[in-house]
């Protein structure tokens, strides 16, 4: 089995994100960028499937600026075999990403595509679903467990009411949820090995995909600042404040 994993370069989860002064987007200059945490989980799952003898090859794909190569190298250090970067400086919206991934999938012909359920920068949660639709493949989204049973892939999904298990026929698209696994740390010797693994760079035009944005961002602004809490000395003051200041009772 061949697995394609999509990895996105995003502002690090721990960075306090700030809106640009002109409201056009989020400040990314001099900001730590890392692999989208859900994509780390996707890579980890692929590597575990390979370690379990289920997968033969893992291809890590990223789309975006040249620096996305770092993100791919991280995936390679975690255990992916080779990388593909579709390089562009253009803004990529979920539909464009899904189309590019479909084009890569048409070339690579994987049996399974694993993505994060969403990227923590735009929280769109659309790419995996769109990709499955474009390919006409089965989809198992919000996966918290994968299990091969005969020729079906059982995917446990985290849904509002609890856990739902669906049986998919391959080829299929999976999107990884938080509890699917806990990604490993990257070993130093594996970083060295990763440097020697192949990484192909393509352009969207090579794949014949038009990535022009369809949606217009009107404005990006910070949420209103929360007032600091106060400690009160007595129940009477508390009640007084709730009544006269917060107006909740």
């Amino acid at each position: 089995m061949k697995i394609l994993v999509a990895v996105k370069r995003v502002v690090d989860y721990n960075v306090k994100v700030r809106a640009k002064a002109d409201g056009t987007g989020v400040e990314t200059a001099n900001v730590k960028m890392s692999m989208n945490p859900f994509d780390e989980i996707a890579v980890e799952e692929a590597v575990r499937l390979q370690e379990a003898g289920k997968a033969k090859e893992i291809v890590a794909v990223s789309l975006g600026v040249a620096a996305c190569q770092d993100t791919i190298r991280t995936a390679l250090a975690m255990g992916a075999d080779r990388g593909v970067l579709v390089e562009t400086d253009a803004e990529l919206q979920p539909l464009a990403v899904a189309k590019l991934l479909k084009a890569v999938a048409d070339q690579e012909k994987p049996d399974l595509i694993i993505l994060g359920k969403q990227a923590i920068d735009d929280d769109a949660n659309q790419t995996g679903q769109m990709l499955a639709a474009l390919l006409g493949w089965a989809q198992g989204t919000f996966a918290s467990k994968l299990e091969f049973v005969a020729d079906a892939l059982n995917v446990t999904r985290e849904v509002d009411g609890g856990l739902e298990t669906v049986a998919l026929k391959l080829p299929a698209v999976i999107t990884a949820d938080l509890r699917l696994n806990e990604p490993r740390f990257v070993k130093l010797p594996n970083i060295m090995k990763a440097k020697k693994k192949p990484l192909a760079v393509l352009k969207p035009t090579d794949l014949g995909v038009d990535v022009t944005p369809r949606l217009v961002t009107l404005k990006v602004q910070e949420p209103p600042k929360r007032q600091a809490g106060v400690k009160v000395d007595s129940v009477t003051t508390l009640v007084d404040k709730l009544h006269n200041e917060a107006h909740v009772i």
């Binding site: 721990n14 960075v15 945490p37 250090a77 490993r184 990257v186 010797p189 970083i191 000395d233």
Partner: protein, 471 residues
Amino acid sequence: MDMQNPPAPETVALLDGIRAFVDPAHVRTDPDSLLNYGRDWTRFYTPNPLAVVLPDSIEQVQQLVRYANDHQLALVPSGGRTGLSGAAVACQGELVVSLERMNRILDFDPIDRSVTCQAGVVTEVLQNFARDHDLYYPVDFASRGSSQIGGNIATNAGGIKVIRYGLTRDWVTGLKVVTGRGDLLDLNGGLIKNASGYDLRHLFIGSEGTLGIIVEATLKLTRPLREPSVMVLGVPDLDSVMSLYHAFRSQLELSAFEFFSELALRHVLKKGLHRPFDGETPYYALLEFDNPEQASTDEALALFERGAEEGWLVDGVISQSETQAKELWRLREDISESIAEHLPYKNDVAVRIAKAPAFLAEADALLAQQYPDFEVLWYGHIGDGNLHINILKPAAMEHRTFIHKCEAVNDLLFQALQRHGGSISAEHGVGLTKKPYLHYTRSATEVGYLRAIKQAFDPNGILNPGKIFDR
């Protein structure tokens, strides 16, 4: 005072005198307060304070000190009570003076890059304040969420970034203290340079509440690291830790160099953390360095390869995100808390780094021989020559017996330390726990001068009496 029985009439009168100038709600004698404010992180002493007072202004602190002088009342200045040497313990009927209500940040100057705050500001609050202004307060350690700036100054706290940023002492540019006489001193006023005579500020830094009550401080801030990378490396033996230190420090500007043993790691794994990599090694080193755009990763890799070839490294991982950096840090930082339930006996010693291997070898052999049945954990800020030795209490052993057994070996350990020119307390202070051993680090003549200084600032001996040396 017996915590169960009502206070004696003299006590009531004494406290009523205080209630005349501190809001009575903040003069507490309830058993919970007496227990909690009467102890720090040590658990060998029975808390027994007279009362807990929480002043909220410099004037109130001065009034308290004067009142204590008039009534021969002992005061224990109290911060976050995360201290590990019993310095904030009140076990002899003292009055605890908690600074926790004096917790305001008073001033921030972006040009000076300095912040002035009251002593009761929690360390992490100050760190976050700095971060919100794109700056960094680099004194940092696991108790940051509870310890206070005043307590940090009174202990000259060190922590996990000392190798690059130094101790608390290096960041204090101004101090306001109420001396044991009740005088308010305004020391150094935030100046970088000030050659006008003795710098009393430095006497109060590390004085463990014995000379004055710190009420305000001005602290320098610095630029934050841009993209710190964290590595955890598996090391075959203690000597190799030093080879590793030497090799990495000569190539990279390290902001942390910590170490811990496999035995120590197992305790944090029990709390749900994951091994850095498959397989065990006897020791681990944690290194942090600034690595914007992965600029230094190649150097780190080359050093790793060399270490693997020369045999002083076995395996290792490097963080790929800040989340991973934090997770790796927890392997080291959570140790203290993860072993707290075993009532560890702690030693916190320092040697010059060059002397560390020889001392370590000697101490390791000594502990193995003296404590064959005890679990001994090593970890610490090895990059500063600072080792924490923690001995865990066997579940079946009575606490007193355990402590006596541990103390019995201290003299041997400290004799070895003395031969290597080390200190019996690297950063935790002397307080009560290390008082009997001060002579291994300070000569009688020197202690004489310490006492003379104490006499000058606190002639009636009302401030934290019996801490550092006997009154």
